[in-house]
Symmetry: C2
Subunit: 217 residues, 2 copies
DNA sequence: ACCTGAACACCGTTCAAGT
DNA sequence: ACCTGAACACCGTTCAAGT
């Protein structure tokens, strides 16, 4: 016996959690994300979703929060030196993007409101201030780290050929042919970049604290 | 007298160039990009565009090529040390993203085919190889630079509030209140990041060439 | 409170028909 | 060759109607 038409079921078909789960499934499946496709997957009418969430953008922000929590896995609690915390945070973000690459293009450029994600940035900010970075520079450093993480997140989401030379090239074509492709290349580039970043932040901090603040221009 | 209905005008209404120009105008205007909106702006039916370009994606790739050429402004010809070339290239890309921030989310994650853009990456690759970076590392460095540039490009395109804490924060809220907003913050973060990147690449290169390749682990 | 179904104002793309 | 207009299969969102 099928349940026939039912205006309001006794037990709700949907919930915020169920919607978030299905949305992540949909995104991870590689199919284009959309309210209609999501409703289809939930066996429900698109308009039903609007009883629980704030439309398309609301669902996307929901996913950001959801998979941030998932990827962190308690890494938040790490003590240790500031550069270890930064590296851990970056790697956690990397894991999250790697686990759900197709989400990256969706969340890109949207204002972050999820409390958990905010808290994680807040933790980072506190760490950097405590480490001795000047207050008016910390947000810049965070933006830098963010740009770095997002850039590499997109690298993961990209079709495997980032460059597709059609004519002759002097060097690029050869390097592409020789290089490992896809995730491996991206991973190596990420590790390299993270090393460079941390290292240069340490150098900058040392320079800031060692001499008694030379004021040159 | 209006020109009434005309199946095929004597002089074509459209051309690839005219479409590219109008597309950039549309994107820069801040309105959402779309084939229909573009056709409207050109005073033409959406289907007409398909006589000249390869649909939505084709038009986007067209814009990438167009505004890359525009932003370069002959900076390609710069001689000088490799790190100057890298810095110049990055800054040119930065200018391009700054001039057309709304294009960034559109081109993100799409395979690059435009010959001019390919040539510019090729030039960068050749420069790095000539500078002494190991061949199997150059593509990683380029991916790193790219991630960096894209990340900051998106930073420019973002709504001015990247973070919107709703509750109490330990540090982040205060920093956001004190910090310069929008483009200025992004510019300073970019400059900071570029400095760090170049510096650490130089350090890496020095380390690579100075000692006779110590093999650890 | 929570779902459906109809309706609205859109998309991007294809294609026959017109000149 | 190059445009139109109709058609197709979609979007995201709103809202009255049902229980």
């Amino acid at each position: 016996m099928e349940e026939a038409y039912m205006a309001r079921p006794k037990v709700p078909l949907l919930s915020v959690d169920r919607i978030a789960d299905a949305a992540l499934e949909l995104v991870d499946s590689g199919q284009p994300f959309g309210v209609n496709a999501l409703a289809r997957r939930l066996g429900v009418t698109p308009s039903s979703l609007y009883n629980h969430v704030d439309g398309r953008d609301g669902i996307i922000e929901l996913m950001r929060g959801r998979f941030s929590r998932e990827a962190a896995g308690g890494a938040q609690a790490t003590g240790g030196e500031w550069h270890e915390i930064v590296a851990d945070t970056m790697r956690a973000q990397r894991r999250m993007y790697a686990a759900h690459p197709n989400l990256v293009p969706l969340i890109v450029g949207k204002t972050i409101t999820d409390p958990y994600v905010i808290a994680s940035y807040d933790h980072l900010a506190t760490t950097l201030v405590d480490a001795g970075f000047p207050e008016d520079e910390v947000l810049g450093v965070i933006a830098l780290l963010d740009a770095f993480a997002i850039g590499f997140g997109l690298d993961l989401a990209s079709p495997h050929d980032v460059w597709q030379p059609e004519g002759e090239t002097q060097t690029l074509g050869r390097l592409i042919a020789d290089a490992p492709h896809g995730d491996e290349r991206s991973d190596r580039a990420f590790d390299l970049g993270l090393d460079l970043l941390i290292e240069s932040l340490r150098a900058r901090l040392a320079r800031l604290s060692a001499p008694p603040a030379p004021v040159v221009e």
